[in-house]
């Protein structure tokens, strides 16, 4: 992938395919480290599936839980000296607390670090394609919140209006880009 934000989109799509109704996307940057955590309440995976999930030649295919996405992210993380871990609670074993957590860690100064790219566009794309699902997004840089969004808060105001209406999608785009802009301004003025 050309941008890490595309991996975020890709991994979150897996969550949605697993039936997630609440998907968390957290980017946390601390000095030279970047960690990415995607959490969902989807159906999860059995231990056997989990063991094979980062093998590029493994895919459930017919149900298409996971394909190349996780192996790709794992490779991109490891190439920088970081790594990837996946934890999952399968619905059959944990009927009330199922879901999956994917964590990827990167070293930003490494030459093979793929830039984060346009995170806003990935969040927008997720909401556009899955207007009935909720997303909690946060991007923390050195302990400070650079940007964030919780679709449950939007839904509280908007009622049953579809989140993928053009007006709302455009508003979310500006809302997130403004947050990033403000964060950038604050950083450059404090330097």
């Amino acid at each position: 992938m050309k941008e890490l934000s595309l991996n975020i989109l890709d991994i979150a799509e897996n969550s949605l395919k697993a039936g997630s109704t609440l998907t968390g996307i957290e980017i946390s940057e601390n000095g030279d480290r970047l960690s990415l955590t995607i959490t969902d309440n989807g159906c999860g995976m059995s231990e056997d599936t989990l063991k094979t999930v980062i093998d590029p030649f493994y895919t459930t295919r017919t149900t298409r839980k996971v394909g190349m996405g996780l192996p790709l992210l794992k490779m991109e993380a490891e190439m920088t000296g970081g790594g990837l871990s996946v934890e999952s609670r399968w619905v059959n074993d944990f009927p009330d607390s199922h879901g999956t957590v994917v964590r990827a860690k990167f070293v930003k100064s490494h030459i093979d670090f793929v830039p984060l790219g346009d995170v806003t566009e990935s969040i927008i794309t997720l909401i556009q394609g899955h207007p009935d699902s909720d997303f909690v997004f946060s991007h923390i840089i050195d302990g400070e919140r650079a940007a964030g969004l919780d679709t449950r808060e939007l839904r509280e105001i908007l009622g049953d209006l579809p989140l993928n209406s053009y007006e709302i999608i455009s508003w979310i785009r500006e809302y997130l880009n403004e947050q990033y802009g403000e964060y950038g301004d604050k950083k450059s003025s404090s330097q």
């Binding site: 992938m1 595309l6 989109l9 890709d10 799509e13 395919k17 298409r64 394909g67 190349m68 996405g69 790709l72 566009e121 990935s122 927008i124 794309t125 556009q128 394609g129 808060e153 939007l154 105001i157 908007l158 009622g159 209006l161 209406s165 053009y166 007006e167 709302i168 999608i169 508003w171 500006e174 809302y175 403004e178 403000e182």
Partner: protein, 123 residues
């Protein structure tokens, strides 16, 4: 600075519109959004469709949605157009410029751009 308060105004504006939109959506634009599609550039293709459909005031007639792997990964980004009573059109190796042309000529003008279809690119 944008605030959640603004959403209340958007809600007010949209109330009437939503009623008008019921029972529409004759044309469906479906963008492949699996790993293969995303890696090949589907994200900007999708956002261009959303943007241009709105600009052309076609949002009552056209819905833009996403799907998983269509099964022809070497042709990604792939976009399928479904229209009642017509054959499905599959556009391949799409990019934002091509997407703009599809909105203008196909969705608005009703003319399939045959050079972008899978039939024209299948060699």
């Amino acid at each position: 600075m944008k605030s959640l308060e603004e959403l209340k105004a958007i809600k007010e504006r949209m109330k009437d519109k939503v009623v008008l939109r019921e029972g529409t959506g004759d044309i469906r634009v479906v963008v492949g959004m699996a790993t293969c599609g995303i890696a090949a550039g589907a994200r900007p293709v999708l956002s261009t469709f959303v943007e241009e459909v709105n600009r052309a005031a076609l949002e009552d007639k056209v819905t833009v949605s996403q799907t998983g792997c269509i099964g022809i990964c070497q042709f990604e980004p792939v976009v399928e157009i479904f229209e009642a009573g017509k054959d499905k059109v599959t556009y391949v190796k799409m990019n934002p410029e091509k997407a703009k042309r599809v909105v203008e000529e196909h969705l608005k003008g009703g003319r399939v751009i045959s050079e972008y279809t899978i039939t024209a690119n299948n060699d």
